[in-house]
């Protein structure tokens, strides 16, 4: 069955449930087929490679560019320098450190925590809107909730003025769509739309950065533009590529975390019931979701700088290496009863947010967003149910999640 298994994983028909394919793949922990990538699917092997200093994230070290995914990220299109996601130390460390200064401990331990009230307000507002303008008999949770939420959050975090938020949403939508190849669309037109959006967003951000340099307002963008740590200041281009990274990575993943989360809860109504009366349960629920249905299914852009021997296979220098995080998360060698969704699991050190130096930068924010979103949905939607199971999925096999999640409820309780 391993014949063409990667094709099967990437094939849209597997999107709703890729897990049986991952199970098959795990029989060959380091899988290599012809001139395709080396694919690692078992927990311990993935974990070890995520911490291996011979593994590069810089695509310039890639000898052969695999085209299996059939998509670029478009960063080249605007000549932005690569974001720290695609850099190795020391450049990665420097940029991530400078980005972290205004975002998390030790310098800004309160940034995420202090957004809690604001995030709660956005969640309440979105659910209120559904209640006032929508139809409880048919809610598309993606369109009406889990998509607009993280984009709005990123705007607030970066400091995009609220009057510009709607423009920002449009660019974000277009860029997000570019990560989600739609076989029906005209590719040339898509590329053009994406480039235009990227260009406009870049111009907009550059203007905003300039403004914040003159009049800093304490938001992330001001701090990135004017930050003066031991590493000095970021160049304008670095601020641009960093804020573009925060924008894309900051909501493309959270939208799926929330949507996958609600889908999973609706498939496990007993857990949803518990969450309704105990919002604190959202914390272990989110953790288990990151194991059970991680928004980032695989990391396809790593390359060894030297031959690495693993599982009886030599992964050659310069090879394309895929780490299937979602498969590692369901490795029975690591997790007992891995296909069971169990928020009471005592040991849930999943790979859902990666590990090592590239582990998810926005993790604290993503966790908080998902916990607030799920507990509020559970509390306010009365008798929620799925209208389609499985729901229609997005094309993307890497950032996997439903394109729409049609649900219904009897009514929506007041905030």
């Amino acid at each position: 069955m391993t014949e063409g298994i990667l094709r099967q994983i990437l094939d849209y028909s597997s999107r709703a449930n890729p897990y049986p394919l991952y199970e098959e793949l795990r029989k060959t922990p380091v899988f290599h087929d012809g001139d395709g990538p080396y694919v690692v699917s078992t927990y311990h092997e993935i974990k070890s490679l995520l911490h291996d200093p011979r593994i590069s994230s810089d695509s310039r070290n890639l000898a052969t560019v695999g085209d299996l995914l059939g998509e670029g990220d478009g960063e080249e299109a605007t000549a932005l320098p690569p974001s720290f996601l695609k850099l190795d130390p020391p450049d990665h460390d420097r940029l991530r450190r400078m980005t972290n200064r205004p975002f998390g401990p030790p310098h800004s331990p309160h940034r995420v925590h202090d957004m809690r009230g604001e995030l709660g307000g956005i969640v309440t507002g979105l659910i209120d809107t559904i209640s006032e303008q929508g139809d409880p008999g048919r809610i598309d949770l993606v369109e009406e909730f889990s998509y607009p939420f993280p984009v709005t959050v990123i705007c607030r975090l970066l400091g995009v003025p609220s009057e510009d938020e709607s423009r920002f949403h449009v660019w974000a939508d277009t860029l997000a769509a570019s990560l989600d190849p739609d076989p029906d669309a005209d590719p040339a037109e898509r590329v053009k739309k994406t480039q235009d959006a990227r260009m406009e967003l870049g111009m907009y951000l550059a203007g905003l950065i300039e403004e914040r340099r003159k009049n800093p307002t304490g938001d992330m963008l001001s701090e990135l533009a004017t930050g003066q740590g031991p590493d000095g200041a970021m160049s304008t281009m670095e601020v641009l590529s960093t804020s573009a990274l925060l924008l894309i990575a900051g909501h493309e993943t959270t939208v799926n975390l929330i949507t996958n989360g609600m889908l999973t809860l609706l498939r496990h109504p007993e857990v949803l019931d518990r969450l309704r009366t105990d919002p604190a349960l959202s914390v272990p629920i989110v953790e288990e979701l990151l194991r059970y249905e991680p928004p980032v299914q695989l990391v396809p852009q790593r390359t060894p700088l030297a031959d690495i021997e693993m599982g009886g296979v030599t992964i050659p220098k310069g090879a394309s290496l895929w780490l299937i995080l979602a498969s590692g998360n369901r490795d029975p060698q690591r997790f007992k009863d891995p296909d069971r969704f169990d928020p009471d699991r005592p040991d849930v050190q999943h790979l859902g947010l990666g590990s090592g130096i590239h582990s998810c930068f926005g993790a604290p924010l993503a966790r908080l967003e998902a916990a607030l979103a799920l507990s509020e949905l559970a509390r306010r939607l009365e008798n929620p149910r799925l209208l389609e199971d499985p729901p229609p999925y997005r094309q993307n096999a890497v950032l996997r999640g439903p394109r729409h999640l049609p649900i219904a409820c009897d009514s929506i309780l007041p905030a």
Binding site: S48, H51, R54, D58, D88, P89, P90, P106, S355, G356
Partner: protein, 464 residues
């Protein structure tokens, strides 16, 4: 299966006593309850407090960011124990299976766990040690008292000894903008644990942060004024340091005095035990009802030449306690070894320092990633052609990889390039550990045994 074995009786109605109401003692007690121990559990502690966490005492507490009385350890579960707090154990009768307490009481046990840990090594001159303003830092009370003094704004603080605790104290003082002098007998800070190459980096951290660091000197005496307040310290180079707070940070002593004459294999280096945490008696025979865990234990480790290691590491205390608790309630092949890879961390001068393995066993070091100049690097220690330890300064996310290399006894120097290998990382250096015959502040890992394969014991100083 026998219906009512001794082990089942022990689990149902046995008496287990834990001496040492500490991190190791608490985690062991929790593990025993977790594993279904339903008998009576007595926790004996010489301090009046329930188990608390020590790492914050030399960090957040000294900065005034946390208070010493708020460092109680979180509980994993209810342990339903009888607490005997504020009463030190004073003796052990292994034949009668009794622990003697300072108040004259005796507590009987079927299984005993000793987790009495270490205490700060005091200033050797008792009269000088008793001066007002002279501190050690080990306990919650020490932390609270020292914080009060630092908050009052002393004119100058003197730290004697630049091991991890001493360096953390110096760092906290500088963060509070207090003038501080550090006197270290070795060539630099941290040299006992990490060697001179890293000691040099640490010295730079001290100096760049405004610490008056004196190395290669001893404090020969402390001087008080007429009211008994410490006033100055005399150094072996003839200099005088005026200070109104002196912190003696000369490492730790193991709390084994109370076991004198008990017949247990206990001494100044700790209590010898097998890899399953069962204590040895003075004849080297393993006991079956006395177990040890935490800083006070010294046990052989297969990965490190069967050296007896005693580790003053937070993580070791937890892992060893869990193993000890498991083995106390198991028999024969169900028992498991404690084969924890030593690991510790420190935070000083804004730098996060972590280490795995036993760096002090290594004689060479290779900077595999980053650079010492930036104080962000990975240093890997080699011993007889294999990787034996690693240290990171602000690079801890790579540590898992190096831990694996140690576990797999990977060759040293590592033969491959890494994502961040600068020019300085191409060649191993002499790790420059001090001659073991010259005392420094102790490392946090004590090597104290020999391989069963060794035919003779020889003394080999690191430098001729």
């Amino acid at each position: 299966m026998s219906g009512d074995s001794a082990l089942e009786r022990l689990k149902r109605e046995g008496r287990i006593v834990v001496v040492g109401a500490s991190l190791a003692g608490l985690r062991a007690a929790e593990t025993m309850r977790e594993k279904g121990f339903a008998g009576s559990l007595t926790m004996i502690g010489d301090e009046p407090y329930e188990p608390y966490d020590r790492p914050p005492l030399s960090k957040q507490v000294l900065l005034g960011k946390a208070t010493a009385d708020r460092t109680a350890l979180p509980r994993r579960r209810d342990i339903d124990a009888k607490w005997r707090l504020g009463v030190p154990a004073t003796g052990l009768d292994m034949t009668a299976r009794r622990v003697k307490l300072a108040d004259g009481d005796e507590v009987e046990y079927d299984r005993l766990l000793i987790a009495t840990g270490v205490r700060a090594r005091p200033w050797p001159n008792e009269e000088e040690a008793a001066l007002e303003g002279v501190f050690t830092l080990r306990t919650r009370d020490d932390g609270a008292a020292l914080e009060r003094r630092l908050a009052a704004g002393p004119r100058r603080v003197l730290v004697i000894g630049a091991g991890f605790t001493g360096s953390e104290i110096a760092s906290a003082c500088r963060e509070r903008d207090l003038p501080v002098t550090v006197a270290e007998r070795g060539a630099g800070p941290l040299v006992g644990a990490l060697g001179g190459v890293i000691g040099e980096v640490a010295a730079g951290m001290h100096r760049d942060n405004g610490v008056d660091l004196r190395t290669g000197v001893m404090v020969t005496g402390l001087e008080g004024d007429s009211s008994g307040q410490v006033r100055a310290a005399h150094l072996s180079d003839g200099s005088l340091v005026e200070a109104d707070v002196v912190i003696v940070s000369l490492g730790a002593q193991r709390n084994t005095d109370w076991l004198a004459g008990s017949g247990l294999g206990a001494g100044p280096r700790g209590i010898a035990c097998d890899a399953g945490c069962r204590a040895f008696n003075i004849w080297g025979i393993v006991t079956d009802d006395v177990f040890v865990a935490g800083d006070v234990a010294r046990s052989p480790h297969a990965l490190f030449g069967y050296q007896f290691l005693s580790l003053e590491h937070w993580g070791n205390a937890v892992a060893q306690a869990e193993t000890a608790a498991h083995n106390m309630l198991s028999e024969g092949v169900d028992r498991r070894p404690h084969v924890w890879i030593p690991a510790f961390w420190s935070s000083q001068f804004g730098v996060n320092i972590k280490s795995v393995g036993v760096p002090s066993m290594g004689n060479e070091i290779l900077i595999t990633q980053g650079s010492r100049d930036e104080r962000r690097f990975v240093g890997v220690y080699g011993y007889q052609g294999r990787v034996i330890g690693a240290v990171t300064f602000d690079q801890c996310r790579w540590l898992d990889f190096y831990e694996q290399q140690i576990e797999h006894t990977a060759p040293f120097p590592l033969p491959f390039t890494t994502v961040d290998r600068r020019s300085e990382g191409n060649k191993p250096l002499d790790a420059d550990f001090p001659d073991p015959s010259v005392p420094t502040h102790g490392p946090t890992i004590t090597l104290s045994g020999y391989s069963p394969a060794d035919r003779q014991m020889t003394f080999t100083p690191a430098h001729n």
